[in-house]
């Protein structure tokens, strides 16, 4: 039987390597596939540029237009909250910073743990609310495929297990940490093959959108 | 009749060592020393972070628990040319000094003493006479008749319980034991006192390194920061504790260890006539007296003495390819270039080849001395077999008139020789080796105060740096680097050689004191120090109770478990002899 320490070392060692390998491999394939398709030449006389409006759109879509906010405040608020929470917990928790530093060599200051802890709790609530919304809102329920629910779980679990490990709600700790790392690895592995790719491709999509519109003189 | 005597395990040492020796009548003709345990540490270290290496290397030995950690961080610091803050240098000196004294005292009382002290004989001592004896040689306060009476009662209760525990099956009553009962009782009392004392002084390592055994080190300094205003750093309270511990060490060395050594030695002066062996001595030198890196400031200077010639001191270069080399002619290893070549540690190889080198099938009665017979290699300096350790250090110090501690050493050695009525040649012996250990403890104990004072003065001057972080990150290292870390461990000169490539260990070789001393024969058939010493004038009174072998082997303070085989050179008949 595998001990919890073996399990932790497995998740921190070989499985992590496998996960980042699949992740990098997968995401690069996805991006290359996208870019390699290219765009055909546009003969129409442009009204505006593409690059700057494209970049502006990349940024602008973080803030919804007022109409959308009025019609779907729940989506906007909950979606924004848990996304920000997820990113804060992912990138500003000191142990995570150390992982990134060790893996890609980049580091930045983190936030005090109680702050990250509170953010994580809010993120968990946000994700639960998002799930309930998906189950009850007609459009979301209509659009949702099994993949959407799997992805929700894949996103929710690392946050939940991280919270559990931090608060040491499950013992022994190597097990709790190992499970957290495992769920994060599942997230990484699943990412390139599911709609989780939007983490990377949304930037590309937004840019293309902004460029398409920008060329016609509209800041989308 | 010739026979072959086997002692396995040799106890009261660290690790597992086996020696085989051929008997010529009563005399030992040929002895073979064999390390019987291997873990392959040098293999394990490959590919790891050089900054982690000390923790692995430290586990080479838990008795001289500090030395491999120090040699390892020094090797990395040498390879990367990391300069150490003065405070770190002085703190390391204090830790090394404490280790040396702690180790020597424990060796003398707990590992070596039972070769000279008959515990059972202590039961017939007169406590009052013991008290008189004790008071005649020292001002140590625990010397009242009542104290010794209590002690005797305690031993009696223990012996009468019938469960002799660790004292079971000792060679009690062997005629080689020459101490009067009173001296035996006093020594047994000090055996127990030394246990309590060592527990106390080990605290020094805990203060700077968090624990003992296996205190912590860090490449580029020491882990403990200095901040007089912080509770969680080396502060005034901690320094006061260190001062106390240094006094505790000095007091015990002055009032117990030195007098006991002289008292016991005076009954065994015949042991100044045997156990010399090689006559070649090597010291890397260590412990700058002022925390600098200047070789001239070393408490123990560097040098090699050949053929007992104290007038000529040869220099040693640890990096030179042709100086220090390890051979495996009689080791259970294989080199790519075959079993006859010698390799400098930078190019050292560690390939376990027990079967290939004709290791005997287990269980076995004897090792195969024609081929490999040890897990130790045979290190040589310019192809010379060398002895390392306290005797080597004291001799090199004795032969270095400009060394800071020369005068003190000369005085100590000369007065000891005159007290015991021995000529200078008496140093080259089993007894000389044991006496040298005691004398250098005294020198180190005095130096501890010097280092402590320097540390305090440095802190007072406003320098509290303990760690050099500039080369901490592996990204700041050169692609390739190599270095040697050396130190004078309690058991002798210790060297670690590291080759770093791309931030990882590409090769790691440790040449430990016991490899020098306990290593097997080289391709020329030249024996190691143990083997040579055992071949020097050793007669066994009773091959079944080879206490003579233990005395000489223990005088080296072995750091491995051992076994001794005696072989009939004519018939080759091998007789397993119970050693009792």
């Amino acid at each position: 039987m595998m001990s919890s320490m073996d399990f932790l070392l497995f998740t921190k060692g070989p499985l992590f390597q496998v996960a980042i390998a699949i992740f990098v491999l997968g995401i690069l394939i996805r991006l290359v596939e996208i870019f390699a398709l290219g765009r055909s030449r546009n003969f129409a006389e442009p009204r505006g540029g593409q690059v700057i409006p494209g970049l502006k759109t990349v940024y602008k879509r973080f803030n919804p237009d007022p109409g959308t906010f009025r019609r779907a405040p729940f989506d906007v608020v909950v979606g924004t909250v848990w996304h920000i929470g997820f990113i804060v917990a992912l990138l500003l928790f000191i142990p995570h910073v150390e992982v990134i530093k060790a893996t890609v060599g980049l580091a930045w200051p983190g936030l005090p743990n109680p702050v990250v802890d509170a953010v994580t709790a809010i993120t968990l609530l946000g994700l639960i609310a998002a799930l309930i919304h998906r189950l009850t809102h007609p459009v979301k329920r209509f659009l949702s495929t099994p993949e959407d629910y799997v992805i929700w779980a894949v996103t929710f679990l690392p946050v939940l297990t991280g919270y559990i490990a931090y608060h040491r709600l499950v013992n022994p700790y190597p097990l709790a940490l190992g499970v957290h790392i495992l769920t994060a690895e599942i997230f990484l592995i699943v990412l390139p093959f599911t709609k989780l790719t939007h983490i990377f491709t949304a930037v590309v999509a937004r840019w293309f959108n902004g460029a398409n519109f920008g060329r016609k003189g509209v800041q989308s | 009749m010739s026979e072959r005597v086997v002692v396995d395990p040799i106890t009261r040492i660290e690790g597992h060592l086996r020696i085989e020796a051929e008997m010529d009548g009563q005399n030992i003709a040929q002895a073979y020393s064999s390390g019987t345990m291997v873990r392959g540490l040098e293999i394990i270290l490959r590919g790891r972070d050089p900054r982690d290496a000390w923790a692995f290397a430290q586990r080479i030995c838990g008795v001289c628990t500090l030395v491999h950690g120090i040699a390892s961080v020094r090797a990395v610091e040498d390879a990367l040319q990391i300069e150490l803050p003065r405070n770190a240098q002085l703190i390391r000196n204090l830790m090394i000094g404490a280790q040396t004294i702690h180790d020597h005292v424990m060796h003398f009382y707990h590992l070596h003493a039972l070769d000279w002290v008959d515990v059972v004989s202590a039961l017939s001592a007169d406590p009052a006479a013991t008290s008189q004896l004790a008071q005649s040689i020292s001002s140590w306060p625990k010397s009242s008749p009542g104290y010794f009476a209590d002690m005797q009662k305690r031993i009696r209760t223990f012996v009468e319980s019938g469960q002799l525990g660790i004292f079971a099956n000792g060679y009690w009553g062997h005629p080689a034991y020459k101490l009067p009962p009173e001296a035996n009782l006093m020594a047994v009392a000090h055996y127990l006192e030394a246990l309590a004392w060592q527990r106390e002084v080990a605290r020094l390592h805990a203060i700077f390194g968090g624990k003992n055994p296996h205190p912590n080190f860090v490449v580029g300094g020491v882990p403990s920061p200095i901040d007089l205003n912080s509770d969680s750093a080396i502060n005034a309270k901690r320094l006061a504790q260190v001062q106390d511990l240094i006094r505790t060490m000095q007091t015990f060395v002055d009032q117990v260890y030195v007098p006991d050594t002289l008292a016991i030695a005076s009954f065994y002066t015949d042991w100044a006539e045997r156990g010399e062996g090689l006559g070649n001595f090597l010291s890397y030198g260590d412990m700058s007296i002022d925390g600098s890196t200047d070789l001239d400031s070393y408490l123990f200077p560097r040098g090699v003495i050949l053929n007992r010639d104290l007038s000529t001191l040869h220099d040693v270069d640890l990096h030179a390819d042709g100086e220090i080399q390890e051979y495996i002619a009689h080791s259970w290893y294989a080199y790519e270039g075959g079993p006859q070549v010698g390799l400098h540690p930078y190019k050292g190889e560690t390939r376990l080849a027990y079967d290939e080198r004709k290791g005997p099938a287990v269980p076995f009665k004897h090792v195969n001395v024609e081929d490999g017979y040890s897990w130790l290699k045979s290190p040589r300096w310019k192809n010379e077999s060398m002895e390392v350790g306290p005797l080597a250090r004291m001799l090199v110090l004795y032969a270095s008139p400009n060394a800071p501690a020369h005068a003190q050493a000369k005085e100590l050695v000369d007065s000891t020789l005159s007290t015991l009525g021995l000529p200078v040649q008496g140093l080259f012996s089993t007894l000389g080796r044991t006496a040298a250990r005691t004398l250098e403890s005294k020198i180190v104990a005095d130096a501890m105060q010097t280092w402590f004072d320097a540390l305090v003065a440095n802190i007072k001057s406003g320098d509290t740096r303990t760690f050099n972080e500039t080369l901490w990150e592996p990204s700041s290292w050169p692609k390739k680097a190599q270095g040697a870390g050396y130190m004078e461990a309690p058991r002798g000169g210790l060297g670690h050689w590291i080759v770093i490539e791309n931030g990882k260990i590409a090769n790691y070789q440790a040449v430990v004191p016991s490899t020098w001393n306990a290593g097997p024969r080289d391709p020329q058939g030249i024996p190691g120090a143990y083997e040579a010493a055992l071949q020097d004038n050793h007669q066994l009174h009773d091959p079944k109770q080879p206490i003579e072998i233990l005395r000489t082997i223990h005088s080296f303070d072995p750091c491995i478990a051992c076994a001794v085989h005696l072989q009939d050179p004519e018939t080759g008949e091998q007789i397993q002899v119970k050693v009792r």
């Binding site: - | 527990r199 106390e200 007089l228 005034a236 309270k237 006061a240 305090v456 007072k460």
Partner: protein, 150 residues
């Protein structure tokens, strides 16, 4: 032996209390509950400080907080045991040391009298036996003793 005074270091004016790593106050709370238990149910308690995750200074701070009271005693058995009442009557500190005067245990006892100061019933039996023996011996030697009158 040497103390702080012997160290030739200028100590910066330190705060009056040792640095608190946060583990002293919770123990005060535990003591309060124990005192209440003693008062209401007559049930004594004992807290083993060896099991506390004290940081440097925590123990000193706790001792400062507890203070010293009117009673102190030393029991000499297998090395000294120092017992003192804190500034809070009924709250005792018991420090066990071995024969080398090294601490082997530190406890806070909440009781009217710490157990180690009480005479043990078995010892009372021995006392009885010893006194009777002594008396018998004394009587045996006495000229008017019953044994002689026979």
């Amino acid at each position: 032996m040497s103390g702080l005074d012997n160290i030739p270091i200028q100590v910066e004016p330190a705060p009056a209390l040792a640095r608190d790593f946060g583990n002293a106050l919770p123990i005060l709370g535990e003591i309060r509950h124990a005192v209440a238990r003693l008062r209401h149910d007559g049930e004594p308690s004992c807290i083993d400080l060896g099991a506390m995750p004290f940081g440097p200074g925590d123990e000193a701070r706790l001792m400062t907080l507890l203070g010293r009271g009117e009673v102190s005693a030393t029991v000499t058995a297998l090395g000294p045991t120092h017992v003192w009442e804190t500034g809070y009557p009924g709250v005792w500190v018991v420090e066990y040391q071995n024969t080398e005067a090294q601490r082997v245990g530190l406890q806070i006892e909440i009781d009217e009298v710490p157990k180690i100061l009480r005479t043990q019933p078995a010892d009372l039996d021995d006392t009885l036996a010893a006194l009777e023996a002594r008396l018998r011996e004394a009587a045996g030697r006495h000229p008017d003793g019953a044994s002689d009158s026979q």
